[in-house]
Amino acid sequence: MAKRIDISGLSAYYSAFKAIDDISMTIEPGSVTAFIGPSGCGKSTFLRTLNRMHEVTPGGRVEGKVLLDDENLYGSGVDPVTVRRTVGMVFQRPNPFPTMSIFDNVAAGLKLNGVRKKNELNDIVERSLKGANLWNEVKDRLNKPGSGLSGGQQQRLCIARAIAVEPQVLLMDEPCSALDPISTLAIEDLIGELKSRYTIVIVTHNMQQAARVSDRTAFFNLAAVGQPGKLIEIDDTERIFSNPSVQATEDYISGRFG
């Protein structure tokens, strides 16, 4: 189910402004890859090019190739809507649909895919909520609004919603930055459990988090404000945090940066 992502020569623009420049990397299936780097280095923008969310922003434009196994997401005739059903995304701030119940939130993507049968929906919703470690907390109030949950629960609800449609890749844009440490731990544990089934890419500002959850870490940086962000290096997480091959990475990780 999990797929390999092959990125080559990828640049992204906001109108005339080049946000990321010529990035190439390979993300292995069934692994967790963390993107770290200072604010404005384009790591979130880069993440959003992997499910074609970048072009939703007015003026957003992408050059280069993203291969999911062998299919180019930016090939001609590829429908971004189909891409986003294959590549799921979890956002920085938990964003359950406020007008929907917990059940309907998880079922939303399934209904978009045409799943209508009640018992099939019930099964998948239960499996997804269990997969997101939320089932025990919400099984008695599936018909209550999702916005009534705590922040950490809401984020796990969003993860359940994302995995309900069985994507091949799961993108997470700073999924814990709005959460307290206990909720953060719950999400990190969950990431560990999910990685066998999905290729996971996570953007984080928390370097300990990157060290804890990821197999590979990519460090992004920018030369100066107004310059495009670049990929400095990507390597096994252990190596990045112990013995990175680029001096800038070591400076950033050890807090001597800029």
Binding site: P58, V81, R84, N95, P96, P98, T99, L112, P145, S147
Partner: protein, 328 residues
Amino acid sequence: MTTTAPPATRPEPHRAAKTVSRPGDRIFAGLARGSGILLLVVMAAIAVFLTVRAAHAISKDHGNFLTTFEWTPSLNPPVFGIAVLAYGTVVSSIIAMAIAVPIAIGIALFITHYAPRRLGGPIAYVIDLLAAVPSIVYGLWGALFLVPHLRGVNLWLDHYFGWTYIFHKEDPNSAARSLFTVGILLAIMILPIITNVSREVINQVPKMHEEAALALGATRWEVIRLSVLPFARSGIISASMLGLGRALGETMAVATVLSASPTLSGHLLDPVGGTFSQNIVAKFGEADDFGRDALIASGLVLFLITLLVNGAARIIIQRRKEYSGANA
């Protein structure tokens, strides 16, 4: 309207312990309080005036005020009732809402989600212009353009949809001075306010809710259905109520177009009927004191209907509060 005075003091390092009341604050607080009280006094005065005069008229009415068709307070004994007026007011407003609300939501969504940015601004401006046209101009346009041009439409509706009863026309040759035509005119008049308020509300839908739907693989329409409309729902209802308020109370445009008569017809295309404000403006000039009291009574009923409609809208909005975007 609030009469709360601003906090009287700011903590200051030098004389922190003392509460100092400055003359500027006292004057402003007095002005604010006075304005609030003045509003209540004026409202109370109007209410008392209307109720007293209306009660006087209704007590002398020899017909049933609620069910009588005719409006003849000058007869001896006086006979007048609001049946035709209430029916005409409500029906023409329902027609207007049925036409205007879907179109307004469509325009608002087009401006916010479909139109290229360069096109959205000018369209919004043109809609604003519609709101600036005086209602008598709408009335003249309705009488001189809409009425003759709707003739063919009326015949067509009668021919193909006459079986629905409401689109049956008693006399196919009569002019289109009907509640249906009034409804269309009112729809155009209330379109701007519903569109503008809806557009504002839709613009306030947080980006992150739309992205939530997009990331699940929703198409543009599905984003609107999943994220935009549920979030904007209560705002759109409020917008529609503002429009309905205007439709219920509209006077000149209705009076210019409608061929009023004290007849109640279920056929919307028949040139009969009347509305509260149309009746007031038509009868007020030649009414004697008692006639005016009777008209005031009808105005009071219009006021009550508007109040009821607003209350109903509030209940609808309130009931969905748990699910609204406000606590997200």
